[in-house]
């Protein structure tokens, strides 16, 4: 077993869609709607690598795991940095032994991302994020900025 990890090329949508259909959700919207998949994971202006912001694990060239990253601008009090929301994280059942899932997640530590965020996590996976030095928040912090003169402009 020689498992390798890399990011998906733009021409690999058919393999990803097939894997999503079989191991994530049958007839998932990303399987039915390539433009939506492209809009979500193909953001050259936000993603420093070439191709999709989508990590793949392969065993001798055969796809055995995927992890999507939805690129976004992480804005902290006006300081903008690149970040990704992770999505569609699944390893084929016959390859769940070992640490392939962990190594797949590591693909998003390599680029210079300021934030890698998972929202709505399964409580059973909290340990994963804590051990990997992630911060687990009980709720999503929201901040509201009151822009001077905004109410006048909205009138």
């Amino acid at each position: 077993m020689a498992v390798t990890f890399r990011y998906a090329r733009i021409d690999e949508y058919p393999q990803i869609a097939s894997f999503l259909n079989e191991y994530w959700a049958n007839n998932h919207v990303y399987v039915r709607d390539k433009p939506l998949f492209d809009w979500t994971f193909n953001s050259p202006q936000l993603w420093p690598e070439s191709g999709y912001c989508f990590a793949m694990a392969e065993d001798n060239g055969e796809l055995i795991g995927i992890l999507g990253g939805i690129p976004f601008v992480f804005n902290t009090f006006g300081k903008a940095d690149p970040g990704v929301w992770i999505a569609n994280y699944v390893i084929r059942p016959d390859h769940r032994k070992g640490t392939f899932a962990l190594q797949l997640l590591s693909q998003f530590r390599k680029p210079s991302l300021h934030a890698v965020i998972a929202s709505g996590i399964n409580p059973a996976t909290i340990t994963i994020y804590k051990v990997l030095r992630g911060e687990v928040l009980p709720y999503m912090p929201r901040r509201v900025a009151v822009v001077s003169g905004a109410t006048d402009r909205m009138a």
């Binding site: 070992g98 392939f100 899932a101 051990v131």
Partner: protein, 80 residues
């Protein structure tokens, strides 16, 4: 340290202690997946008072590798 590590590994992966050897790894323990691996890391950090980086966590793939890395990280206790 080897005995403590073997006991932790047996407990986390729910296998008999006598089956855990220095060569035990994901190849020999059927329940050794990513979730159990991270629970193992957490238990090791608590037991030995060490902390592993995410890169090191990926390298802890056998009992003997764990013992070696923990030994490297543990503070040297000198006799008074």
């Amino acid at each position: 340290m080897l005995e403590k590590t073997r006991a932790i590994v047996a407990d986390i992966f729910e296998v008999p202690l006598e089956t855990v050897t220095p060569q035990s790894s994901p190849d020999t323990i059927a329940t050794w997946d990513s979730m159990h691996h991270l629970n193992l890391v957490l238990a090791l950090e608590q037991e030995f008072g060490v902390q592993f980086s995410p890169e090191e966590i990926e390298q802890l793939l056998s009992v003997e590798l764990i013992v070696a890395l923990v030994a490297e990280k543990m503070p040297i206790v000198e006799n008074a």
